[in-house]
Structures are given as structure tokens and as C-alpha cells.
């Protein structure tokens, strides 16, 4: 048992990576689901033990893959930020994979179930690989694994528009991935090493050279494409709307979050304050982009008739919040961004699972089809209401905590007008959430819905996620502590302004 703990960092990736080909080998749908759930639960327990070990002041030794030293081979240096993101990823996937059983049987043809689960596991492996690795080029390799399986998963949506959405996402995603590859190449050219730890020590020496500045530009733009930050977000709405409900839930709660983690890692650890200090206008430009993203996302969300597309646009707005927290560049703002990453993953994952319940019963998520559904599917609608409140940021929900820290960060940075804008944007969120609630509870359906409540196998995982938004809204200590430590780690490594 002890050596499993010792090899935990690499087993987090190897277990799901081995499960995927085993699934393709056995070609059986139930077995595939069981293997997927077991792999994600193993990773969940693994990352929780690692998080507790680090939270308790411990230090996870550097894991030398292949037994080679850091400057020769690839190493895993798991710190608080890694463990935080890993716990989030495996937590979300543990719930979503359990949910997938009935939802996949309803939306995906029987012959392709095992391929679907294999692709889901590969996407999970890729995201975990990006979150944990300590080697720059390794990030690109796992980025490609998660992206390729993501494109295929999105294209499995029943509506043929999913194909064009996946194509558009593929072209933009590959462009982003190649920009990241180019950025890594520039960094390697100037420092001669690919290890993130050595890079974070070597890059500040060359911060003035044009090569490192170009690397900064390419990595940031590449990550922002994957992150769907405002001007580069065109692919996201269609993808989340037309993808199968399991895939929308999984990707909305994990893919953009890992890209945000990579952006954090790059901006603070690799380039650090030396570069950001010089690029003062860059930070204000990023704040400007984030604000446009927030308002454009919220306004577009109000005008949507399909609830899934409404949630997709609201995701763009929430990503704007995270980038806002990042660009405030102080402890509170960064803590707000990291904890918002966690809370938004839970909230948006829960809301998309609710959409899966509606898809299961009504085969549609349009607002006019949901008219008066509150009476027929009360539990599902209650889950949507709680999730909506957390999205708005009502006190006692997780959303409130992150909005609170973002506001504190804004005040600390002396931008009180930002506080007003954050509150204004929350009001917009109120509008588009209540539009759905009003239709669901008070609307009158054209024809009487003859559906009954969503099955327990769908409702239980949904309530796990929705319940956790309340749980982490009240008992904030574990995750908030980890988020604050990660923020301090990022700021200290880069050197605060």
C-alpha cells in the first residue's frame, strides 16, 4: 500500500490512461462504464490524499519519471496548485461518469458506447496530465490528447450542427495548440531546458529579450483560445449547446478550468512579475477584455431561447470573472479567481447535468418547451434554481464566496469602479436565470407535459454537484485555504509587483 502512495502522482494519469484501451479491448458497454467510474474514483481518492498531505504542511517529493534527474527526464513536482486542480478535475469526473450511465444510453447509439467512454477517459487523462506535469512540452502532448478526444466527443451530439461546431473548435483549438508549441519552442531556445522549475528560474534572466516576450505573447494567446476568453470565444457556445449533455457537463466544468490553470502557471511561474511589471498596459488591457467578456456574455445569455446556449454564454461571462481576478494581480484577487474556478466548475457542471435530465425526459432544452415543467419535474427544477442562485452569487452559495473575494481584490487594487461593474454583471445574471425560472414555474405549456420526474440515477449525481455548491458555500475552509495557498504560491514564485 505504501508504494502506491509513493507512486501516486504518476498513477493519477496511468490508471485512466490504461483504462481507456482496456475498454476498447472488451467492447462491452456496461464494463466500459464500470471501468470509467473506477478510474475516476481512484483518481479522486489519490488527489484528495495528495491535497491533504500538502495542506497538512507536507511536501510531495519530486517524482522522477524513468528515474532520470529533472534536467534529463520528465518530472512531476506536485504543489498545492496542482493538487487543487487535480481534486477538482477528478471530483467533477467522478460525479459526471456516474451520471453518464443513463444519459449515454439515451443519447449515443449502442454500438459506440465503449468508444464514447474511451474518449471520455482519454479527455480526462489529458486534462489530468496537463494539470500535474512539471515539463513544458508534456503540457502540449496532454493538451493534444484532451483536445482531440474533446472534438470527437462534441461531434457525437445528436443534432448535426454538433459536427460543424466540433470542426470550428478543432481549427481554433489546433491553432491555439500550435501557438503554445511555438511559445514553448521560444522558451527552450532561450533557456535550454524544458523543466518548469528550471524555466521559472531561468526565464527572468532573459525577460528583456524579444524571444521571451514573443513566447509570452504566443503562450498567452494560445491558452486564451483554449480558455475562450472574450475575442477568441466564438467556438464555445455552439460546442456546449450541441454536444451530448454528459460532454457539455464534463467539458464546461473542466476543460476551460485547466486552460485557466495553465495560464496562471505560465503568467506567474514562467514569466513572473519581471515581465508583467513592464507590461502594465497589458494588465489593464486584460481587465478591459475580461469586462467586455463578462458583459457581452451576460447580455447574449439573456437573449437566448435554448437554455444550454444560455448557460454556454454565461460560461464566457464567468471566465471573464476569473481573468479579471487574475489581472488584479494581488492576493485577494487571485484567491478570488482560483476559488471562482472551483465554484464555477461545480455550479456549471451541476446546471448542465440538470439540462441532461431535461434532455432525457423532453429531448429538448428550449425555454418554450420547459414552460410549466416546474410542476411535472419539481426536483430537477429545484436543482436548477439552486444552481442558478449560485451562478448569480447569492450569499450562502459558493458563487458568493468567489464574488466576495473578487470584490475584495478589486478594492485592494484600488479599482472601486470595478466593484460596481461586478455587482452590475451579477444583476444581468439574475435576469437570465429568472427568465428560465419564470417560464418553468409560471409558464403555461401549449400541450400538457406527460413526463414524470427524472430517474434517480440522473438526479442523484446532479444533487451531489448542486448540493456541493451549498456545502462549499457554507463550509468554505478546506477549498478556500487551498485556493489562498495557491494564490500566495503563484504570487511569491513570480515575486509580487
Amino acid at each position: 500500500m505504501s508504494n502506491i502512495i509513493e507512486h501516486l502522482p504518476v498513477l493519477q494519469i496511468v490508471v485512466p490512461l490504461v483504462a481507456a484501451p482496456t475498454i476498447v479491448l472488451f467492447r462491452n458497454s456496461t464494463l466500459s462504464w464500470i471501468l470509467a467510474v473506477l478510474a475516476s474514483w481512484f483518481c479522486l481518492f489519490g488527489s484528495i490524499t495528495m491535497l491533504n498531505q500538502i495542506n497538512g504542511g507536507g511536501e510531495i517529493p519530486t517524482y522522477l519519471i524513468g528515474g532520470w534527474d529533472p534536467h534529463v527526464g520528465i518530472v512531476y513536482q506536485v504543489d498545492i496548485a496542482n493538487a487543487f486542480i487535480l481534486t477538482l478535475l477528478s471530483g467533477i469526473s467522478a460525479v459526471v461518469f456516474v451520471y453518464a450511465r443513463t444519459s449515454v444510453r439515451d443519447e449515443i447509439p449502442e454500438a459506440k458506447h465503449h468508444y464514447f467512454y474511451a474518449a471520455l477517459l482519454l479527455c480526462f487523462t489529458g486534462l489530468m496530465g496537463m494539470a500535474i506535469t512539471g515539463d513544458a512540452f508534456n503540457i502540449f502532448v496532454f493538451l493534444e490528447i484532451s483536445s482531440l478526444s474533446g472534438y470527437a466527443l462534441i461531434a457525437m451530439g445528436r443534432n448535426p450542427k454538433a459536427l460543424t461546431a466540433a470542426y470550428r473548435y478543432l481549427i481554433m483549438g489546433t491553432l491555439g495548440g500550435t501557438f503554445i508549441l511555438l511559445g514553448i519552442g521560444f522558451l527552450y531556445m532561450m533557456t535550454g531546458t524544458l523543466n518548469l522549475e528550471e524555466l521559472s528560474h531561468a526565464v527572468p534572466h532573459y525577460a528583456e529579450t524579444s524571444v521571451v516576450r514573443a513566447a509570452f505573447a504566443f503562450i498567452t494567446v494560445g491558452t486564451c483560445i483554449k480558455l475562450a476568453l472574450f475575442p477568441l470565444h466564438m467556438w464555445l457556445p455552439n460546442c456546449y449547446t450541441y454536444a451530448p449533455s454528459v460532454v457539455s457537463a464534463f467539458l464546461s466544468a473542466t476543460a476551460t478550468k485547466v486552460s485557466f490553470y495553465v495560464l496562471l502557471r505560465a503568467m506567474f511561474m514562467l514569466f513572473g512579475a519581471a515581465l508583467i511589471a513592464q507590461a502594465k498596459i497589458f494588465l489593464s488591457f486584460v481587465i478591459f477584455l475580461a469586462l467586455i467578456g463578462i458583459f457581452m456574455g451576460s447580455l447574449k445569455a439573456i437573449g437566448q431561447d435554448d437554455v444550454k446556449r444560455l448557460l454556454a454564454y454565461s460560461s464566457i461571462a464567468q471566465i471573464g470573472y476569473m481573468v479579471l481576478g487574475l489581472s488584479l494581480d494581488n492576493a485577494d484577487g487571485l484567491t478570488g479567481a482560483i476559488i471562482h474556478l472551483f465554484n464555477h466548475a461545480l455550479t456549471k457542471g451541476g446546471l448542465f447535468l440538470v439540462m441532461g435530465c431535461f434532455m432525457y425526459r423532453l429531448n429538448s432544452t428550449k425555454i418554450k418547451d420547459l414552460a410549466g415543467i416546474g410542476k411535472k419535474m419539481p426536483l430537477t427544477m429545484l436543482a436548477f434554481t439552486i444552481g442558478g442562485l449560485s451562478l448569480i452569487g447569492v450569499p450562502l452559495t459558493a458563487g458568493f464566496i468567489s464574488k466576495w473575494y473578487l470584490a475584495m481584490g478589486a478594492l485592494q487594487a484600488g479599482m472601486w469602479w470595478l466593484l460596481v461593474l461586478i455587482l452590475l454583471a451579477s444583476l444581468l445574471a439574475v435576469v437570465y436565470i429568472f427568465r428560465v425560472l419564470e417560464a418553468a414555474y409560471f409558464g403555461t405549456p401549449e400541450k400538457e407535459h406527460d413526463v414524470e420526474e427524472a430517474p434517480f440515477s440522473l438526479l442523484f449525481p446532479t444533487y451531489v454537484l448542486i448540493g456541493s455548491t451549498i456545502f462549499f458555500g457554507i463550509w468554505t475552509e478546506p477549498m478556500l485555504g487551498a485556493a489562498r495557498k495557491s494564490a500566495e504560491l503563484f504570487l511569491s514564485s513570480g515575486g509580487a509587483l
Partner: protein, 325 residues
């Protein structure tokens, strides 16, 4: 550092090809030119001493991509509709990116400068002057690929596996084509192929195991194995190749290759080393254990070759058996 004349000529070829690809509206010509583009870039790689990359680019870039694109052209249409209006935005993006790129060259070390930073780094130093000591393999690229950065290659084999799974997901259900593909009974091509296929397979095996001493290895060998089957499928018909290599078995081979690779890593765990630490294989305790490295690299390259062969063949089946829309 003088730029060799041949490099300038080859770059000239590349520009001409890139521009003709952009302008020509016959997609068939564009696909063939993209294959030639890959081949000429492979020549450039040889000039820049990257023999393994040249081999892979020629086999994988020019070979597989061009074959897949031509099959897709056959399924869709090989005419491009005339451009509606010249788009300014793409030119803007291209020039902006180009501007940043050329700004980056301001402080770049000169091309081929031995004092450039990456040639001084410890990593290069270790790879060049200690890899033979630790693995007894002359081809440093194979040692770095399979042993020092073996985890990257595991990720890469998973990328190939992901592509195979994704294509199975998208084109999985074989639509029986309304018009059965007309059998091209061309005896001369058939006899020629029959003469060539055994030598292609033999050369693929040579490349698989020669990877330690010269350019070669799992990827190139896997593609060449698949190329032999693709040639058989092209000359006869994919249905005949299916008799020789049934699709179900090939799908299982894709999974088996990745499992073989991961199994070698996990076996190292059980033997007490870290993941993918070949030193513990067949070891009696001495630290640099070339025999363990040899076995590890051999098995790992076999896993890669298996996955790449089966994945490329699956891609060919899924595309070639697709009925015309």
C-alpha cells in the same frame, strides 16, 4: 553562418508550392502539392541533420496525410468554389503573427551557432555524452525518445490511439455504399504490388529494429507496415484487405499497443523502480543498466509500432469503406 544554396532553392520551392496551393481551385492538385510540400520539408530536415524527423515526415506527413485526403476528396468533391471576396481579416492576423515572429528574431541566437544556449545546456550535454554509457545505443534520438523522455512518447502513442478512437466514433458505422466501389482489375498494378508488398513489410521490420543504430523506430515502421496493407487495399479493394486483416482485430491491436507500452512502465513499478525506469529490468543492481534499457526501449518501440500500424490501417479502413454520399 552562410546559408547553403540548396536551402535557399528548397525554400523557394516551398514558397511556390504554398502559393500555388492557395491559388489553385483544383483540390486534387492542392492535395498532391501538400504531399510534395511535406517531402521537400523532409529534404530540408535531412540538410539540418534531423534524419529521424525527415524519415517520419516523409512517411507520416507525405504518405498518410495525402492518402487520407485523396480518399476524402473522392468522397466529397474535388472542386473548390470560387472565393466570394478577398478577406482582409486573415491577412491582418497573418501579418500580425508574422510581425511578432520577426520581432522575436531580434535577439535569437544565429542559425547553427555552436555557442547557442541550447547546445550548452546540461540536458544536451547529458544526452550526447552519457546516453551511450547508459543505454549502449548509438542513435541518441532513439534513447531520448524511448528512455529519457519515454513518458512523452507514451503520451504520443495515446494521441495516435485517441485519433483512432475518434475516427471510429465518427465514421464507425460503415454505411454500405449505394454504388459498390468499382473493382479496378488492373493486372499490371496487381503484379507490381504483389512484388513490392513483401519487401515493404521486410523493410518496415528492418526500420523497427534498426532504430537503435540509424534513423528509424516505432513510428516510421508502423506507418510502413500500414502502407503495405494500404497498397494492397488500393490495388485490389479494401474488402480484400479486410479478409487479410479484419477490422475487429486491428481495433484490438490499437489498444494492445498502448497497453504494451503502459505495461512496461507498470512492470517497472512492480520491480521497485519509478514508472518507465528500465534500469530495474533484468537488473542485478548496477545503476547504469544498458541491458535493461535495451529491453525496455525494444518493447516500448514495439508497442509504438503496433499502435501506429493498427491506427493508420483503421483510418484507411474507415475512410475507404465509407460509401459515397
Amino acid at each position: 553562418m552562410i546559408i547553403h544554396g540548396i536551402t535557399i532553392i528548397l525554400f523557394l520551392f516551398l514558397y511556390v508550392i504554398a502559393i500555388v496551393i492557395g491559388r489553385s481551385r483544383n483540390l486534387f492538385a492542392a492535395v498532391m502539392l501538400s504531399g510534395i510540400f511535406s517531402l521537400i520539408s523532409a529534404c530540408l530536415f535531412v540538410i539540418m541533420d534531423a534524419v529521424d524527423v525527415a524519415f517520419t515526415e516523409a512517411a507520416v506527413g507525405a504518405g498518410v496525410s495525402t492518402v487520407l485526403m485523396m480518399i476524402v476528396l473522392n468522397l466529397t468533391s474535388d472542386r473548390e468554389s470560387p472565393p466570394v471576396q478577398p478577406k482582409v481579416f486573415p491577412l491582418l492576423v497573418a501579418l500580425l503573427t508574422g510581425g511578432v515572429l520577426i520581432y522575436a528574431t531580434k535577439d535569437m541566437p544565429a542559425f547553427g551557432d555552436p555557442e547557442a544556449l541550447i547546445h550548452q545546456s546540461q540536458t544536451t550535454n547529458h544526452y550526447l555524452w552519457h546516453s551511450f554509457e547508459e543505454s549502449h545505443i548509438p542513435n541518441v534520438v532513439t534513447t531520448v525518445l524511448a528512455s529519457y523522455r519515454g513518458y512523452d512518447t507514451l503520451g504520443e502513442t495515446t494521441v495516435v490511439f485517441t485519433a483512432a478512437v475518434a475516427v471510429m466514433l465518427l465514421l464507425g458505422h460503415v454505411r454500405e455504399s449505394e454504388t459498390p466501389p468499382k473493382l479496378i482489375n488492373d493486372p499490371i498494378a496487381l503484379v507490381g504490388a504483389k512484388m513490392l508488398i513483401p519487401y515493404i513489410l521486410l523493410f518496415a521490420l528492418y526500420v523497427q529494429f534498426h532504430g537503435d543504430f540509424g534513423p528509424g523506430g516505432g513510428f516510421q515502421a508502423g506507418v510502413m507496415f500500414a502502407a503495405a496493407f494500404v497498397l494492397h487495399g488500393m490495388v485490389l479493394s479494401p474488402k480484400h484487405t479486410l479478409k487479410a486483416a479484419p477490422a475487429l482485430i486491428i481495433e484490438k491491436l490499437v489498444a494492445l499497443g498502448v497497453l504494451l507500452y503502459a505495461a512496461v512502465g507498470i512492470y517497472c513499478l512492480f520491480k521497485g523502480g519509478n514508472f518507465l525506469e528500465y534500469d530495474v529490468l533484468l537488473s542485478h543492481g548496477e545503476k547504469p543498466n544498458p541491458h535493461g534499457q535495451h529491453i525496455g526501449i525494444l518493447l516500448v518501440e514495439a508497442g509504438v509500432g503496433l499502435t501506429v500500424f493498427a491506427a493508420m490501417l483503421t483510418l484507411f479502413y474507415k475512410f475507404a469503406l465509407r460509401g459515397k454520399a
